[in-house]
Subunit: 158 residues, 4 copies
């Protein structure tokens, strides 16, 4: 089976996050990876559009109980009916997890991915950062400036 | 987006159920439908194998927290980590639900599909039947003898 | 920790199911068991009312993302946001599962409880019955005519 | 129905987090609030022990498919079988969410609570903090130094 990469990010995003996610989707498709995302707008739509521009396979894991609200670039829409508990499904389905941008939902996915353990978690671009009580950055998440660097940091094509 | 059909059945099945599910998978792929299944063996493996024999797209919705145990004919494996609660995800992701054979897990999927409402639910072959206290068959589920008839009864290609 | 018994049934029920569920709730509370139910109306409300009439502890496992719709006799409302996938949570939380009456949601709970395995599953009163292709009743579920007999059949107080 | 407060924190914690969570549990029980927690050790066990020391009601929402691993001070154990997706159930069941200490699981609960919206989210003691790309603290979470202050910040007893 093909490599699967979960890409998470806010349902509303700016141009910079859109561009990063779109290019990430393109690169993933070019390498034959399946993209797993939340299936809605913003970063989710951008990575889907990028992947489809290279005939990639994109699976949207939706929070609602049916396919309404699914973005136009999904190959498949999984309607979970689980609400935000679907975030756990997204991060368990990736061989690596890449997050783009900052939002509470995105943070929950980053945290669930780290909690899961055993898979690389990469933050692409300027998202939220975590510091402990002493002001030190909490270790564990890998940081990438470009989509190509993000893919390198997953280690999936090393 | 393509039509999606959820196909449910036991992880262990006899030759007759295997043949029905395999042919169902072939027919679904030939019509361009995405197959959604539980991703394990038996009927799930048969419908996946049938669909892949026609280059169809097959999504396995797994109960476990990673992709271990995924069948070889899946295009994508969604690792839910939800245990049997993933049965609800399967039935919400289909524009129709077809069940083949009888088991408690399969029955839960049939019941959750009927509970969901609004989508056709078809039983293909000899599965378990429901009777009320008066011995009358509980209405709602459609019954098909052949895979072709099952697809007709979904009404998706009418 | 106290014994926990999951009681499942339709959100709309007749007088007979109401009476059975209410008496079941009373008996469970008198024996010190915690009642786990779906937290809505019909059989769920009846078992909750019966248990509370004896100062029992009743937990409602709700499908929605907040406590709206919770019945008045619950001690605690767990808002899952999972939709019908919450049925799996209900049946996993009982040391035994008792179903009263017939509906698709109730059937899914009975089936998920049998699929779980290892816990007694009792049908109280006249619900739906399962027959295989040969017309024989599918074995596994225990059948009780009265709430007292249902408790006996759980084996929890043997 | 009583007020319900979700309390989240790591399964392993130091003395300071234990003391804060234990006192928080005591105060919640004294005010008649039901405590919702993850049902395991560390902060979860501390808040449960504190609440039970005042005869409070404590519900543990467990990740596993049965009650194994449930702490000794729970009044009720809800076995979800959902893995870490159960974190979403915890935060939806509270009228307020209080987190104590830092871990990836705890962070996921804080983030899911903020994503849910509409309920106060309080961080008690020195947990992880979030900063945006410019180094500014991300707003939204309320910070308390003592359990009494945490309860004040929920606004539930104003």
């Amino acid at each position: 089976m093909a490599v699967q990469v979960a890409v998470c990010g806010p349902a509303k995003c700016g141009q910079r996050e859109w561009d990063l996610a779109h290019e990430l989707g393109r690169l993933l498709a070019e390498r034959g990876a399946v993209v797993i995302c939340g299936g809605h707008g913003g970063v989710m739509a951008a990575v889907a559009a990028g992947a489809r521009s290279r005939d990639g396979l994109v699976v949207g894991i939706l929070p609602g109980p049916d396919r309404s609200g699914a973005g136009p670039d999904l190959s498949v829409a999984v309607a979970t009916g689980l609400g935000q508990a679907r975030n756990s499904v997204i991060v368990h389905s990736g061989d690596a997890v890449v997050v783009v941008g900052g939002s509470w939902g995105t943070l929950s996915e980053l945290a669930l991915a780290m909690r899961r353990g055993g898979v690389p978690v990469v933050q692409l671009g300027d998202g939220w950062r975590l510091v402990d009580a002493g002001g030190r950055q909490v270790p564990g998440v890998r940081h990438a400036r470009t989509p190509a660097e993000a893919l390198d940091l997953t280690g999936l094509w090393a």
